[in-house]
């Protein structure tokens, strides 16, 4: 019962804002003015002769008439009638149709629906005679509203659909949206809430597009109303907050009243009774001030319901009676029904059962008359839809003549365009080619950007890979380095201890009587101390150079080329490689041999880069000839790595040649040209980066040198570095 009542209440309120709605249409066409301002303007016109046939004067008279029809519908009729007559005398058809329509509005406001529709029909007949038929959609929409009020839903829907169609033809977005709004209203009444919301959203989109802030508020209000009906008060609240804020910004009493009323309904549904009450009171006072009869009745009944909920029966009863009276004076059957339903409950609680029964009877009466069954309403709307599709065909026929005119105009235009086109064909062709070229250029630019991006990423990856490879080879070196440092450190320790012993021995010797002292022994000890000190110095430097080399290896290459002793460098890294592998693999066993040219000049190289090449070549060589598998298969082969350096070439183009050979299995010719490719490796996965030789190749190339491979499978592999002197 309660839910049903709420449904009806909202329905009735809907009728309330619709009344405000169609009237607004005309206001928005011309700039809004006050009745006083218009009256004084008309007085000025009346001083000049022949003013009665001046269309400017007649338009102004209609504007004033419109305002009067809204504020004082009863007393406006005389003035409106005189305007109709003046327009008729002046044969100003447009003005006459407008005046008749406004007369219809006034009659509608007084509740004379029959008279209203008669005047609208006369207005429609005249408006249809005027080329362009611009006024037709608006009048159709108003006729639809009256039919709706009269309960002729089928006829109303027909009118609205007609209005939409005509509005489309005359590009009248305002009327189109208004008619869609009215269709939505009928969907709402049928309980097709999803469709109703969709239609309201259509109106919102139209009003936003034509930038009509008032109608945007109206659309939000209606959408929120549907959401409330869909039992989604929180969503409704969000929607209405937008609408209410916009109404306050617009400072329009009409929209402030409307949105505050809907908000009040939402808060009431959310049981925020204080907020709801404040808003209902705001609506009532604004309605009273501006003469919005139906909204006032609605809010009075809403307020009464709030007091009923609070248990304040006396106040509830007072407001309900006032609301009922207002509803009766506005002839709003649904509001009357709601007020009676509420009153019957109030009387019942008060113990006034006779009054309760009376109110309930009235409620029942109105309920039955309003509630023609859902099936009936559905039938009505189905009929309307059928009618509509039939009428659509008729419109198409009717507009055929118009289409012929349009067609011939277009045909002429096309002919003109063809001439133009032929004239401009060459230009167009050029343009086309130019555009195609532009597109290609743009395409190429995009591709270029992509390529540059890819290149940047590749460069970054390369830097990372080089770093990873460097770290990997450093890892391989670590064990060798540890051993290589440990050895000289042992010597430093041992020789310094020996030195101390000898000093002690010397002291003992010198403590003897001079004749017993052995001079040659003393000389010998001193000479040994000297040797030991030299050894300590030598091994200290040896450790120092290893640490320096290691740091250099890990440091980012400065790229600076410095004169370097290739023999020392190669020898150092050969040992590091050997000891590194030995430390990692206890079963590792290999021999190495060096043949270094003592007359080798220093080479201008980046030592840490070349050292990486060398460590790679040595590691590969030792791995090739001394890995466990190869040794198992070839037990007779004694693993041997040979390093040799030599000065080669003509006197004007001398090169340092560094060869690293091993007596491993050799490299099959099938893969010989692949070994310098990045990521190529024959080691089990995870054991090699596959970058060693590739980077080595790049480093040697960067020094202006060459890195060559020679291999006899089953015998030996030789890598040769040539470096310019």
């Amino acid at each position: 019962m309660k839910g049903h009542r709420g449904f009806q209440m909202r329905l009735s309120r809907r009728v309330g804002f619709l009344a405000a709605f169609f009237n607004l249409l005309t206001v928005l066409v011309s700039p809004a003015q006050t009745a006083e301002g218009l009256t004084s303007e008309l007085r000025k016109f009346e001083n000049s002769p022949g003013f009665e046939s001046d269309t400017t004067y007649l338009n102004k008279a209609n504007e004033l008439g419109f305002l009067l029809a809204e504020s004082n519908p009863d007393s406006s009729l005389v003035f409106l009638n005189s305007t109709i007559l003046l327009c008729r005398e002046a044969s100003y058809k447009k003005g006459e149709a407008e005046a008749l329509k406004i007369y219809g509005n006034a009659l509608q406001n007084t509740g004379d629906f029959k008279g209203s529709i008669e005047h609208y029909n006369t207005a429609l007949a005249i408006a249809s005679e005027i080329p362009g038929e611009k006024q037709v959609p608006g009048i159709l929409n108003n006729i639809g509203l009256v039919n709706y009020y009269l309960g002729n839903h089928t006829q109303a829907l027909n009118n609205f659909y007609d209005a939409i169609k005509r509005a489309d033809l005359t590009n009248n977005a305002n009327v189109k949206a208004a008619a869609i709004n009215n269709v939505a209203m009928i969907y709402f009444e049928q309980g097709k809430l999803t469709e109703a919301k969709e239609k309201y959203r259509e109106t919102l989109a139209i009003y936003q597009a034509i930038n009509n802030p008032g109608r945007v508020i109206l659309a939000y209000n209606n959408i929120g109303d549907v959401e409330l009906r869909q039992n989604n008060p929180l969503e409704a609240l969000n929607t209405l907050k937008i609408g209410y804020r916009a109404a306050l910004e617009l400072k329009s009493p009409e929209f402030i009243e409307m949105t505050s009323r809907t908000l009040a309904d939402i808060y009431s549904a959310l049981d925020s009774l204080d907020k709801a009450e404040a808003l209902f009171r705001e609506s009532i006072s604004m309605s009273r001030e501006n003469g919005y009869g139906v909204p006032q009745a609605h809010s009075l009944i809403g307020l009464a319901d709030l007091y009923y909920k609070k248990g304040k029966l006396a106040e509830a009863s007072g407001f309900a009676k006032e609301g009922l009276q207002q509803a009766e004076s506005m002839a709003q059957p649904m509001l009357i029904r709601n007020a009676n339903e509420l009153l019957s409950r109030i009387y019942e609680e008060e113990g006034n059962f006779a009054e309760a029964l009376q109110s309930f009877k009235l409620f029942k009466l109105f309920n039955d008359s309003i509630n023609t069954s859902q099936a009936q309403r559905l039938t009505a709307s189905l009929e309307a839809e059928y009618e509509f599709s039939k009428r659509e065909l008729e419109y198409e026929k009717a507009s055929l003549r118009q289409k012929w005119i349009i067609f011939s105009t277009i045909a002429g235009l096309i002919a003109f365009l063809i001439i133009l086109f032929v004239g401009n064909q060459n230009k167009n062709r050029l343009n086309k080619a130019y555009h195609a070229l532009q597109e290609k250029t743009a395409e190429i630019e995009i591709k270029n950007e992509k390529l540059e991006k890819a290149l940047d990423q590749l460069k970054a990856t390369q830097v990372q890979l080089i770093h990873a490879e460097k770290m990997a080879s450093l890892g391989e070196l670590t064990a060798g380095i540890a051993h290589e440092i440990q050895n000289p450190l042992n010597f430093v320790t041992n020789f310094s201890e020996l030195g101390s012993d000898m000093v002690q021995e010397l002291r003992e010797e010198r403590a003897r009587k001079p004749e017993e002292q052995d001079q040659s022994l003393q000389d010998e000890i001193l000479a040994d101390i000297q040797v030991n000190l030299d050894k300590i110095n030598h091994h200290g430097k040896r450790a120092d150079s290893i640490v320096k080399g290691m740091l250099q290896h890990s440091r980012t290459s400065s790229g600076e080329k410095l004169p370097t002793d290739i023999n020392a460098l190669a020898n150092e890294y050969l040992r590091l490689s050997f000891h590194g592998l030995r430390a990692k693999d206890k079963t590792f066993s290999a021999d190495f041999h060096t043949d270094l040219d003592p007359n080798l000049p220093k080479a201008e190289i980046v030592a840490q880069d070349i050292s990486r090449v060398l460590i790679n070549l040595f590691n590969n060589a030792f791995y090739a000839c001394a890995n466990a598998e190869f040794r198992k298969e070839n037990p007779d082969v004694k693993p041997m790595v040979e390093l040799s350096t030599k000065l080669v070439g003509d006197t004007d183009r001398r090169q340092i040649q560094i060869t690293v050979s091993d007596n491993g299995p050799g490299i099959p010719s099938a893969i010989a040209d692949k070994v310098f490719q990045p990521f190529f490796t024959t080691k089990p996965s995870g054991q090699g980066t596959g970058l060693g030789l590739s980077l080595s190749y790049d480093i040697v190339k960067a020094h202006g040198g060459e890195l060559k491979l020679k291999s006899k499978p089953g015998e030996l592999t030789t890598f040769t570095i040539f470096l310019p002197v």
Binding site: Q486, F491, T493, N494, F495, R582, K586, A590
Partner: protein, 126 residues
Amino acid sequence: MKILFVDDERDVEALFRQKFRKEIKSGELELAFAFSGKEALEILGAENPPKFVYVFSDINMPGMSGLQLLEEIKSRFPMMRVSMISAYGDSENYDKAISSGAKGFFTKPVDFERLKEEIAALNEGS
């Protein structure tokens, strides 16, 4: 009493000769040095049976490693005493050496007192 030291670090010779200066002078000890396993075998093989009573060998050497040398010596001269001296004092090397017949295992830097005791024990034993 002849002792052979095998190490690829040549300064080992200067170190040991000085350490055992007194023993050498008194004729108590005679030291020989080899700088690879191959050289050690040549020296040992020069006389048959070798005059040497003890071989001390480094493990980590290019070519033949100390452990390979140990096996070689034990197969050719089973009675020869061999001890290892290594920078790698890990159990893997130790176990390999002892199981191959090494008498002792010394880690670098060498504890000369222990080494002298080991050599002195030879005299008492013989």
